[in-house]
């Protein structure tokens, strides 16, 4: 039902007002719009979110609060539940105490998005993803703070990269190369309207 606009003298009914509330809730404008509600995962080697990338949004924001027991989280894009496992390229910069390091990885089977927390030390990453639902290469920028084996040793990991395959994806998989991870994630779309 479309939004009802009232004019002076018209009777406002409860049904009409409720219909407008329903319309507004279903048609958010501006800012970030949650497309995958916060979801908990516990002691898993991977998690998947299907049907989150649509033509409604071009750019997306993935928030990830996690701990990992043995390895860093990576991501893969997927369509129809099938993950793409080629053509991930990324450049990273890490800062650990006074040491800053950089490296590049190309033609990978997945994209690094964060570092290992080395145990139950709550760490956080957010990943901006551009154009996963387009039949074009996908770009991403990941920012990560990991408290590696303790809260007095925070480490910065910035990873910027792409998935160069020109395929439209509808979902995402996050996975660790050994051990498990525990935490929560949510996915948002950047609104294209004001």
């Amino acid at each position: 039902m479309p939004l009802t606009t009232y004019t002076a003298g018209e009777v406002l009914t409860a049904a009409s007002l409720n219909a407008n509330f329903t319309f507004a809730a279903a048609s958010p404008t501006g800012g970030l719009v949650c497309v995958k509600a916060e979801t908990a995962f516990s002691a898993v080697a991977s998690f998947t979110a299907d049907n989150v990338f649509t033509s409604t949004y071009t750019n997306y924001f993935l928030s990830l609060r996690y701990t990992s027991s043995a390895a860093a989280p990576f991501m893969q894009f997927q369509v129809g539940g099938v993950a793409a496992a080629t053509n991930y390229n990324y450049q990273l910069i890490s800062a650990e105490s006074t040491t800053v390091a950089a490296s590049r990885a190309t033609a990978q089977t997945s994209a690094l998005i964060a570092g290992d927390s080395g145990g139950d030390f709550k760490s956080f990453a957010y990943v901006n993803i551009s154009g996963p639902q387009l039949a074009e290469p996908t770009d991403y920028i990941s920012k990560n703070i990991r408290n590696a084996t303790g809260y007095t040793s925070p480490i910065i990991l910035d990873t910027h990269g792409n998935h160069s395959t020109a395929t439209a994806y509808d979902g995402i998989k996050v996975l660790v190369s050994s051990g498990t991870m525990t935490g929560t994630y949510a996915i948002y779309g950047y609104s294209k309207t004001v």
Partner: protein, 66 residues
Amino acid sequence: MTMRTNDNGTDRDMTEAEQTAHEAWQKLAEAEAKTVAKVAADKAIAKQAVLDRLGITADEAALLLG
């Protein structure tokens, strides 16, 4: 040991096919990580060799380039 996954919000055991695929990816990811680490290590060794030839420390080199 059966691996676990979170499938769109539900924690569950991986299917046999999922676990096989995940284990295959793990091996590839491990090999990729080793390659990246070797490139970084080789670069560090090459950098140190240049510093040794010049007879200066990394901090002194940074001062020169700053």
